[in-house]
């Protein structure tokens, strides 16, 4: 078993942090243009905000938050599906933590539960198997979410259900892929991203090679990075070094786990059970062809979208007009530029998905960046087009 303390030790060393910061300051002084780094994954957004990394960096390094939070990018109609399923008397809907607080057009899964829907949030997808076994007369639907990181777990759950003949377990698949989303952001061009930090947990499964086409096509550095403060700072240094040399290549900072080819056993398992879905609508990014997965032909009998087709709506639903999640997910706006940020939209009463998820950019800003706004410790505070409108405390918001 891993010792819990091993998870963070060593990667928060103050001297190391300061020397990385100094090196970045020195090198970036040689740059004529600022570097706009997109951290694809919300986990990195949280590291940057929580540990105040942006306060350690020169002004010509800017962060742009990307579309890599599986809760944030879930369009409303998919959440509506979950609610429609949960409201069927025979169905128990199982999903992962934060998902139950994301609003669809019919409220959240948490509200649906209060109205009598049987919704069970779990930390481990395999709990869905136990729930299915304990409730043989009900239909258990696992509402599967996540990027390449969590897909193998869903595959294992499916494999076990098949092997153990647990016939009452179904899947509503919302597994999405990082490279098509990154490509969509770059193809759109408006975000003006000039470098990427790639999430290490995705590449632990897929390998780092998945980003090579992005590097080749857009001549943009990609560094696959761990999530500790030292990891992120080192990755930023690696990007700045590339920029100073005028090159763009794929590098791995997180060599502790990530290899070029990744975990091939996991990839094979996923490939044997899933195929590419022709179309998937992302919140904010719209339809991206071949950007998500669906159960392959032989598992149709477990595909909730087929089995429960009659109960599911099929209309695309747009976000609330005031919500700027779409712009945030496309790298066009910062959370504090949203008019309702910290006022109409807070972690306890979220309007958009970016405020709900513990990986969401708005959530990270709300939790960690308040002081930065008040003291102008952040570049966002000066470059933002809207004024800083973050309300001070929850009390003031509700007062």
């Amino acid at each position: 078993m891993i010792e819990l303390k091993d998870l963070s030790q060593g990667f928060r060393n103050p001297e190391l942090m300061q020397s990385l910061s100094q090196r970045i300051h020195q090198l970036s002084a040689q740059l004529s243009e600022s570097v706009k780094i997109m951290e694809v994954c919300g986990g990195h957004t949280h590291t940057i905000m929580k540990y105040g990394l942006n306060q350690l960096l020169p002004r010509n390094i800017e962060f742009i938050h990307g579309p890599g939070c599986p809760v944030c990018i879930m369009p409303k109609e998919r959440i509506d599906h979950a609610i429609e399923l949960a409201m069927l008397p025979e169905v128990i809907l199982v999903t992962l933590g934060d998902m139950i607080r994301v609003p669809g057009s019919k409220g959240t899964l948490a509200q649906c539960r209060a109205k009598g829907g049987d919704v069970r949030p779990v930390y481990d997808p395999l709990d869905a198997l136990e729930i299915a076994k304990q409730n043989p007369d009900r239909k258990v639907v696992f509402f599967a979410i996540g990027f390449e990181t969590t897909t193998p777990m869903t595959a294992v759950l499916l494999e076990l259900a098949e092997k153990q003949n647990v016939a009452n377990l179904y899947f509503h698949i919302n597994h999405v892929l990082v490279p098509p989303a990154v490509d969509a952001v770059m193809a759109d061009g408006a975000a003006k991203v000039t470098a990427f930090i790639g999430p290490s947990h995705v590449s632990a499964i897929t390998g780092s090679d998945i980003y090579q086409p992005i590097v080749d096509c857009y001549h943009t550095p990609v560094v696959v990075s761990g999530f500790e403060p030292v990891d992120v700072m080192q990755s930023i240094l690696m990007i700045v070094e590339q920029k100073v040399q005028g090159i763009a290549k794929l590098e791995v900072q997180y060599t502790r786990v990530v290899t070029a080819k990744g975990n091939q056993a996991a990839q094979q398992k996923v490939a044997s059970m899933f195929t590419l879905r022709p179309h998937f609508r992302w919140r904010g990014l719209g339809d991206i062809p071949l950007s998500s997965l669906v159960l392959s032909e032989q598992y149709r009998h477990r595909d909730a979208e087929i089995v429960f087709a009659d109960a599911l709506s099929d209309q695309a639903i747009e976000d609330h007009k005031a919500c700027q999640c779409a712009d945030i997910l496309r790298g066009l706006a910062k959370p504090n530029q949203c008019r309702v940020f910290g006022r109409g939209c807070t972690p306890t009463k979220p309007m958009g998905s970016c405020m709900v998820s513990s990986e969401g950019a708005c959530n990270a800003y709300y939790r960690y960046a308040g002081l930065a706004f008040d003291l102008d410790l952040t570049k966002e505070a000066t470059t933002g087009k809207a004024s800083i409108n973050r309300a001070k405390t929850e009390k003031e918001i509700t007062a």
């Binding site: 303390k5 910061s21 905000m49 105040g52 139950i100 960690y368 308040g370």
Partner: protein, 330 residues
């Protein structure tokens, strides 16, 4: 297996037997055994008075159980205003079918915890509710005590005060999280659940000036510090590095994206004392836990916020915990 039946709450023979065999037997003292409609108490003012209900899940956890919690929680609320805990009431709401021996374990651990402060249970009540109407056992305890050190208050913090913690934070919250079925984690970690009166008594005896004290229960360290900032209209600067956190607690937080500052404690207190009294206060605190530490200072400022400084020079607000999927812990 003996279980508690609805009839045990019915007011008849069965209920009398439950009360005399279990509650009177373990909690016995002169006032309780009189079994009057109300306990008649001798107290010298000023008096502190507090009440709390306990609904923890699971009922038994590493380092304690709901009974220990129900005593420590109420006794600590009294201790935190400088009052010596003296008399407690105790009401049980028991779910039909609850195992008798579990109830007995809970009662025994209440008795053991009472001995640490010398407080007595002098009255109580028992209700049994149909299966499904409660989650095992709920306990309410109410307590009174004599104030030995006046004016300890959320509004008494002053610029220059030091902020101390009595031990490492977040153990109770982490234990409860780990004990939940869906996490299935293993660790050596035990809850910090404990009676704080002995340490408070020593602090008072040692002559340390006490401006504010609070046990950091639900909402953890973040909640206490934010309440103090509001209550005293001051700013608190905290050094992240100085906050004592056990490795296992830190690891759990990494895994689940929690902040240790938001996790509940049941026997950890935060104190504000004048800077000159810090060495004396730490001497006393460290008799009880080697991890006691000064974690911050109070400063005068326009904004009444908690500012956390990280070891590489970054700053951020330490906000009140919110919007999290934390399990029910107390």
């Amino acid at each position: 297996m003996r279980t508690v039946q609805l009839s045990h709450g019915g007011g008849g023979q069965e209920m009398n037997k439950l009360i005399s065999d279990l509650f009177f037997h373990h909690f016995q003292n002169e006032i309780l055994l009189k079994a009057e409609d109300a306990a008649v108490l001798q107290l010298e003012g000023p008096i502190a008075f507090t009440s709390d209900s306990f609904t923890v899940s699971p009922l038994f956890f590493a380092g304690g159980d709901i009974g220990k919690l129900a005593i420590a929680g109420t006794v600590n609320d009294l201790a935190m205003v400088g009052a010596q805990p003296q008399y407690l009431s105790c009401s049980f709401i028991i779910e039909e079918g609850f195992e008798y021996h579990k109830l007995e374990t809970i009662v025994k651990s209440m008795k053991a915890e009472l001995e640490k402060s010398g407080a007595q249970i002098v009255c109580g009540d028992t209700k049994v509710v149909p299966r499904g109407a409660a989650d095992g056992v709920f306990i309410n305890t109410t307590g009174v005590g004599t104030v030995k050190y006046p004016n300890i208050s959320v509004s008494q913090l002053q610029a220059g005060d030091a902020i101390l913690v009595s031990r490492d934070i977040g153990c109770h919250g982490s234990c409860i999280l780990m004990a939940r079925d869906e996490l299935r984690l293993e660790s050596e970690l035990v809850s910090d659940c404990a009676t704080l009166w002995p340490v408070v008594e020593r602090l008072i005896e040692s002559g340390v000036s006490l401006h504010a004290m609070r046990d950091a229960t639900r909402g953890g360290l973040s909640a206490v510090l934010n309440e103090w900032c509001e209550g005293s209209k001051i700013q608190i600067d905290v050094e992240e590095e100085k906050i004592p956190i056990a490795d296992a607690v830190q690891g759990l937080c990494e895994l689940y994206g929690f902040e240790p500052y938001d996790l509940a404690n049941e026997g950890t207190m935060i104190l504000a004392v004048p800077a000159k009294d810090v060495p004396a206060a730490l001497d006393v605190l460290r008799l009880f836990s080697p991890n006691a530490e000064q974690i911050g200072t109070v400063v005068e400022a326009q904004q009444h916020k908690v500012i956390m400084h990280n070891p590489w020079g970054g700053r951020r607000y330490l906000e009140l915990p919110q919007g999290e999927l934390l399990p029910r812990i107390c």
